[in-house]
């Protein structure tokens, strides 16, 4: 048996043809969704962050309705769970985790980093967030509160990080290039 002849692959083929035969979805729609899933990456979320840093109206939209903000920069969100965006400020730093499983805003961040689903990350993020992010080199001012966002239900959450100092004259593309997935989870902060 080869990898493409496994039972799972045959089952997938059977389900896909049944969906098409019954008129539930077309093969083209399945191919389109598979393409969108593989195109999703942290670069999508980074484009949103960079736009929010240069455009106050976009920033407001992003914090009010992450799904609409994603669609406004061409990220397809149809049929997906609502996206919520939480803003880091001098007072509050957000850190996203899913202690129950592995909820992750894949449409804007792609596949999660390997450690996101680990028992260690899930347990320590809610118990000792400050110690945990320090291991990534993220040391916050003592007066900054950490807000751990435990993603348990029907939303997916991403962080809008603080724009780093020294980027005042940068354009959107240059800003987007410094934003990593960890910055949008809150385990790190962007550096210029």
């Amino acid at each position: 048996m080869t990898l493409i002849e496994t039972d799972g692959e045959r089952l997938l083929l059977a389900v896909r043809s049944l969906l098409a035969q019954k008129g539930i979805v077309t093969p083209e729609e399945i191919a389109e969704r598979a393409r969108l899933t593989s195109e999703a990456s942290p670069a999508q979320g980074a484009r949103m962050v960079a736009r929010a840093w240069v455009d106050p109206a976009y920033r407001k939209l992003m914090l009010d309705d992450g799904t609409r903000a994603a669609e406004a920069v061409g990220i397809p969100m149809r049929g997906l769970l609502p996206l919520g965006v939480l803003e880091n400020t001098a007072e509050v730093h957000n850190l996203v985790v899913c202690t129950l499983c592995s909820c992750y805003p894949r449409q804007v961040l792609g596949f999660p980093p390997f450690w996101f689903k680990s028992a260690a990350y899930r347990a320590r993020s809610v118990r000792d967030p400050r110690g945990l992010i320090a291991e990534w080199g993220t040391v916050l001012p003592a007066e900054t509160r950490i807000q751990v966002v435990d993603s348990t239900a029907d939303y997916r959450w991403m962080v809008l990080p603080l724009r780093p100092a020294g980027t005042e004259n940068w354009d959107e593309a240059r800003l987007a290039a410094i934003v990593r997935d960890g910055d949008m989870i809150g385990i790190t902060v962007p550096n210029a």
């Binding site: 609502p82 919520g84 939480l86 202690t99 129950l100 809610v126 118990r127 967030p129 400050r130 509160r145 950490i146 807000q147 751990v148 966002v149 435990d150 993603s151 348990t152 239900a153 029907d154 939303y155």
Partner: protein, 93 residues
């Protein structure tokens, strides 16, 4: 009735998983704890029913904030946990 932002809520000290197969979205470290409603996030079909293909009631979903010091005996800083919880798990204080 939708809970207003600022409402203090008690998370039910309930363990459905001890009574049989269950799908639960309320983390165990929050059961029996007290938090504050931040906002109503919308209304969603109860995942505890959806997971078993049962007819699902529509429940309000809230963002609820907890002070880390009320959850962990060794917490030293005023950090916060913000969690999505369904109305069926919350009792206004």
């Amino acid at each position: 009735m939708t809970l207003a932002p600022g409402t203090e809520v008690h998370v039910k000290f309930d363990w459905p998983e001890a009574r049989g197969p269950a799908h639960i979205r309320t983390p165990h470290y929050l059961r029996g704890k007290t938090g504050t409603v931040v906002r109503h996030l919308g209304d969603f079909a109860n995942p505890e029913d959806l997971a078993f293909a049962r007819p699902a009631v529509i429940l309000p979903l809230y963002h609820v904030r907890f002070d880390a010091r009320t959850l962990w005996p060794d917490a030293v800083t005023a950090d916060e946990i913000l969690v999505e919880l369904y109305g069926s798990w919350l009792e206004p204080k």
